[in-house]
């Protein structure tokens, strides 16, 4: 099977779906780029190249460059979705949800419920998350916890190219609004990806590693850090079961609960800040529904309750590391023994 990067996998998913369904449009800032200039069209293809080439195949009617006006982009996409298109809107950096959240939070997410089940809003919002590039406080956050907290929104956080393609196709075919979070440091990460279109259902976690000692739940880039930690822990005879939920809304509660029933120990790794977060949410879930199985306190390895710092040394401390993950696993593993 061919190896593809997350960037290629996403691009392929978009192109294949757009060929299949003429109501799918891509809309956002510089999704092609070069409009109204003397240079090339498709100059960017998205700031990190994910939508490159779509303009050439599908043209400006379906690959729509916009002004830098996030409220109008999200509102247009929500309004188009509820009236017959299937927009894939790009919110370049997830931090910019602060500019346009009304159209997502009060509008798109609530149409169906407010309108008594009469509306469908097949909208995908692709957005970049993640720290690690010294992009500082307004270009580095991972606010998927905020999206997850909104009833009516679905939220996808893939960790590899195979999942990225299958989940994006699923998101496009889904009739509800979906926020699709792409980690900015992972676009070049390669895995085997089939050429043909396929879907991965929402709410089905991926068990990345099997193990009986400690359950570790991690998302996006943290899946890879947890895997690194697992290699080190394995040498000490500690086997972790690593679960990547892949979607935070819906969340595959069963896979997490079944694993904790077996291991009795849980570490959650989350690059986002810790208050009212996915890590906290999963900890609450397990405390609520698997309390009797727990043999140790639940540990959360997260960013601190601070904005993302600019200085590389501080940013490195901000992001959970394989060492911190391993230390938390060791602590939980040794508890009560």
């Amino acid at each position: 099977m061919p190896q593809k990067s997350i960037r290629q996998a996403l691009n392929e998913a978009l192109a294949q779906e757009m060929r299949r369904d003429p109501t799918i449009v891509v809309i956002g800032e510089d999704v092609s780029g070069g409009a109204g200039t003397e240079g090339q069209r498709d100059a960017y293809g998205g700031v990190l190249g994910v939508t490159k080439g779509l303009f050439g195949e599908f043209g400006e009617a379906r690959v729509i460059d916009t002004p830098i006006t996030e409220s109008a982009i999200m509102g247009a996409a929500a309004g188009a979705a509820v009236t017959g298109l299937r927009p894939v809107a790009e919110l370049m950096f997830s931090d910019f949800f602060g500019v346009c959240f009304d159209q997502i939070f009060n509008q798109a997410a609530k149409f169906r419920y407010m309108f008594g089940g009469k509306a469908k809003t097949p909208l995908v919002i692709r957005t970049m998350i993640g720290a690690g590039r010294s992009a500082a406080a307004q270009h580095s956050q991972s606010p998927y916890g905020v999206f997850t907290a909104v009833p009516g929104l679905k939220c996808v956080v893939p960790s590899n190219a195979y999942d990225a393609k299958g989940l994006l196709i699923q998101a496009i075919r889904d009739d509800d609004p979906v926020v699709f979070c792409e980690h900015k440091l992972m676009y070049d990460l390669r895995t085997e990806v089939p050429d043909e279109p396929y879907t991965i259902p929402f709410g089905e976690a991926n068990v990345v590693r099997d193990g009986d000692d400690v359950t570790v739940v991690a998302l996006a880039r943290m899946v890879h850090y947890a895997n690194e930690a697992a290699e080190a822990l394995e040498k000490d005879g500690i086997e972790i079961e690593l679960i990547d939920p892949r979607t935070t809304s819906p969340l595959d509660e069963d896979t997490i609960l079944e694993s904790v029933e077996r291991t009795g120990r849980l570490v959650i790794v989350d690059e986002a800040t810790p208050r009212c977060s996915i890590a906290t949410d999963i900890a609450a879930l397990v405390a609520d529904k698997a309390f009797d199985a727990l043999k140790a306190p639940i540990r959360r390895v997260t960013a601190p309750h601070t904005p993302v710092p600019f200085a590389p040394s501080l940013e490195k401390l901000y992001i959970p590391s394989p060492d911190k993950i391993a230390a938390a696993v060791r602590e939980v593993h040794g508890y009560g023994k």
Binding site: P67, I68, R133, Q138
Partner: protein, 322 residues
């Protein structure tokens, strides 16, 4: 209005400082000394300096992600700025903000901004403070052509008119919002005209001509200081680098940057204008060049030598108290 010799020297010094700062940032960024992203202001110097010459330390400005020029023009310490870009403890924000969040409230600089259209509402807030406290100060929003389209910008302009605030909306039309041309993304092709539609005086000036910007800025600042309410200025300008450092700029026409540098360099225009009119001698300008070159060298040396922020800085400054 006629500028005296000291004012002319200051104008030239500030513009050259911005140019050399940005050229050096480009160089140091390419060498890997500067983390993150930098958005360079070279080519647009007349706009920042033409406006900020009229402002005192008590006046406020808010900037964009392309904020180094505004910071320098508003009097921020160049050495502290360079240290900030290098993520050092001695930087203006202690290494925690970086290029996109460079700020110095003591100098009336409310910050570069990572959010397009983030600044204009903040500026009307600063203007509201000035009006409420009767400080006689003004607040200026620097916004790009990209940011001119944001809803936040429209809302801020309207409220400034409604509340008759001492605010000035400076729209720096450098022809691109990232990689999209203004001919595409500003529907009316007329940013000043749109501002006028909100009910404030609005003019359009060439950013190639420091004196034109300076004159328009004077009128707007005086109007605001005298209770005449907000104004807008659209500066027709150009950027010599990409949207950010490292941008391949495929959206540019053939030889576009070369042609801009030849025809639309505000520094070249300034030099020619003042020497031809015998207002300043080439020697005096050369002396400024040398002085600025030494300052930038000093800034880079300090930035390289500076220590990164201590690890404890990760957890400080989130709140005043908690």
């Amino acid at each position: 209005m006629q500028l005296n010799r000291d004012e002319l020297i200051r104008a030239y010094r500030d513009m050259v400082t911005i140019r050399r700062f940005e050229e050096r940032v480009q160089e140091e960024f390419s060498k890997g000394g500067i983390p993150g992203f930098v958005h360079l202001y070279a080519g647009e110097e007349a706009s920042a300096v033409g406006m900020c010459m009229h402002l005192g330390p008590g006046d406020y400005i808010a900037s964009t992600h392309r904020g180094h020029g505004h910071s320098i023009a508003k009097g921020c310490d160049v050495v502290g700025m360079m240290q900030e870009l290098f993520a050092k403890e001695g930087g203006l924000c202690g290494g925690k903000g970086g290029s996109m969040h460079i700020a110095d409230l003591d100098r009336g600089m409310l910050g570069a901004n990572g959010i397009v259209g983030g600044g204009p509402p903040l500026v009307i807030g600063a203007a509201l403070t000035a009006k409420t406290l009767g400080t006689g100060t003004v607040a200026v929003s620097f916004t790009g052509d990209g940011g001119s389209n944001q809803g936040t910008t429209f809302e801020a302009m309207n409220m400034a008119v409604v509340l008759k605030l001492p605010a000035i909306f400076m729209f720096e039309n450098n022809q691109y919002g990232e990689g999209t041309g203004v001919a595409y993304h500003v529907g009316s092709h007329d940013i000043a005209g749109r501002a006028a539609g909100f009910g404030m005086p609005a003019v359009k000036v060439s950013g190639d001509d420091f004196f034109a910007v300076h004159e328009a800025a004077y009128e707007a600042v005086e109007r605001a200081r005298n209770g005449g309410g907000p104004s807008a200025i659209e500066v027709d300008t150009c950027r010599f680098y990409g949207h950010h450092s490292g941008d391949a700029q495929l959206y540019r026409g053939k030889d576009e940057v070369k042609n801009l540098r030849e025809a639309r360099d505000c520094l070249t225009h300034f030099r020619a204008r003042v020497t031809e009119a015998a207002l300043l001698e080439a020697d005096a300008l050369d002396a400024v060049d040398a002085e600025v070159a030494a300052l930038i060298d000093r800034a880079v040396a300090a930035a390289r030598a500076g220590a990164p922020p201590p690890d404890s800085a990760l957890l400080t400054d989130v709140y005043v108290s908690y």
